[in-house]
């Protein structure tokens, strides 16, 4: 099994700060980060009752399908996707080669503004994900994740989940 993706509190706080700022700067309704496998990382915005879990898995499916299309025509990928609706629009871009940044916006913003603000925040996010990678590597070099909650998991713990 591939090594787990890890998110630490310190970097989570930085990412949350970055998307909160992006949401304000781009006049967006909702901004969220999801990994390429469809797991939601962080979200910020005003859209109540939004099913973010479904949004995350469909976004990842969408990006994966579009990447597949790109490869078919000899492209590396389409790093930016944009969907235009009657009221709301979605801007999707790839950060640090493995994370998807989604911005939902309406007529209070514009595609140009969103693109500009996304570009600015991308460099900052790349640095945060690099820092996470370094931290994970350090832990691996030490042999294992020191504070992993799973090192001592028992069969009884797992059975209890299904009781």
């Amino acid at each position: 099994m591939a090594a787990p993706v890890v998110m630490y509190e310190e970097e989570y706080g930085q990412l949350k700060g970055a998307i909160t700022r992006l949401c304000a700067d781009a006049n967006a309704k909702f901004v969220f980060l999801v990994d390429k496998n469809g797991q939601q990382i962080a979200a910020h915005g005003e859209m109540l009752n939004l099913d973010t879990t479904s949004l995350a898995s469909l976004t990842a499916g969408n990006v994966a399908a579009t990447d597949g299309l790109a490869h078919l025509i000899g492209e590396q990928g389409f790093p930016v996707l944009s969907h235009e609706g009657e009221r709301d629009n979605i801007h999707i871009s790839i950060v640090a080669n493995r994370v998807i940044l989604v911005v939902i916006f309406d007529e209070r913003s514009s595609l140009g503004l969103v693109r500009l603000r996304v570009k600015r925040v991308t460099a900052e996010m790349n640095a945060i994900f690099d820092a996470i990678d370094r931290k994970v590597d350090r832990e691996r070099e030490m042999g294992f994740a020191l504070d992993s909650p799973f090192a001592e998991i028992t069969e009884e713990d797992i059975d209890a989940l299904f009781s």
Partner: protein, 197 residues
């Protein structure tokens, strides 16, 4: 690929239900959805054709509860079983933590089972995984139908290692949770291993 979020104290794992077309992958998810308490599940998403054949994937997020203070969430996916959707199947296997192979026990589907299992192994390989090293469960579905192949014969054809095998009638829920539990258990034990436990 398991996602461990220390900030929100959550762990997310991805399980993929694989197998030949019309074998009961979506029915497994549907049963889990129907028999799970409202607060433990998200929406069941089906990207299907007008005739209810899976077009891209079905998706069901499931909260199993808390392990060592971490909320444990499983994301269940199915793949489209029909042969010509191979490109989509490949995409869905990306980042998988555990696989359930739902075999159709009917005699006339034997070839389709074998073909789909080969396809699973080939597609996993492209992502750098090996079926023999991944948390994996075999479900022999549709045991209630009249023309089924004997369990031993199915095992002889489809077993790849010492994986757990469950007989199922997914439409009535038989074997569905046993299958899920067996794969989830392997995924979590695998996490223990990778944490040095």
């Amino acid at each position: 690929m398991t996602f461990i979020n220390y900030a929100s104290r959550e762990i997310n794992c991805k399980i993929v239900y694989y197998g030949p077309g019309l074998g009961g992958k979506t029915t497994n998810l549907q049963f889990i959805y129907d028999s799970t308490a409202q607060q433990a599940k998200g929406k069941l998403i089906s990207l299907a054709t007008e005739t209810d054949r899976t077009l891209f994937f079905d998706f069901l997020p499931l909260d199993l509860g808390t392990v060592r203070g971490f909320k444990t969430r499983f994301h269940l996916y199915t793949v489209p079983g029909q042969v010509f959707y191979d490109a989509s199947r490949k995409l869905i296997l990306k980042g998988v933590d555990g696989v359930v192979f739902v075999a159709d026990s009917q005699r006339e589907r034997m070839d389709a089972n074998v073909e789909s299992l080969f396809n699973l192994e080939a597609n996993l390989k492209q992502h750098g995984y090996e079926l023999t090293k991944l948390p994996y469960v075999l479900q022999l579905n549709k045991r209630d139908l009249p023309n089924v192949v004997a369990v031993d014969e199915l095992k002889a054809e489809l077993l790849r290692r010492d994986e757990p095998v469950f007989e199922g009638v997914a439409s009535r829920g038989v074997g569905v949770f046993d299958t899920l539990k067996a794969v989830a258990k392997q995924v979590l034990m695998e996490l223990r291993k990778s944490s040095g436990g």
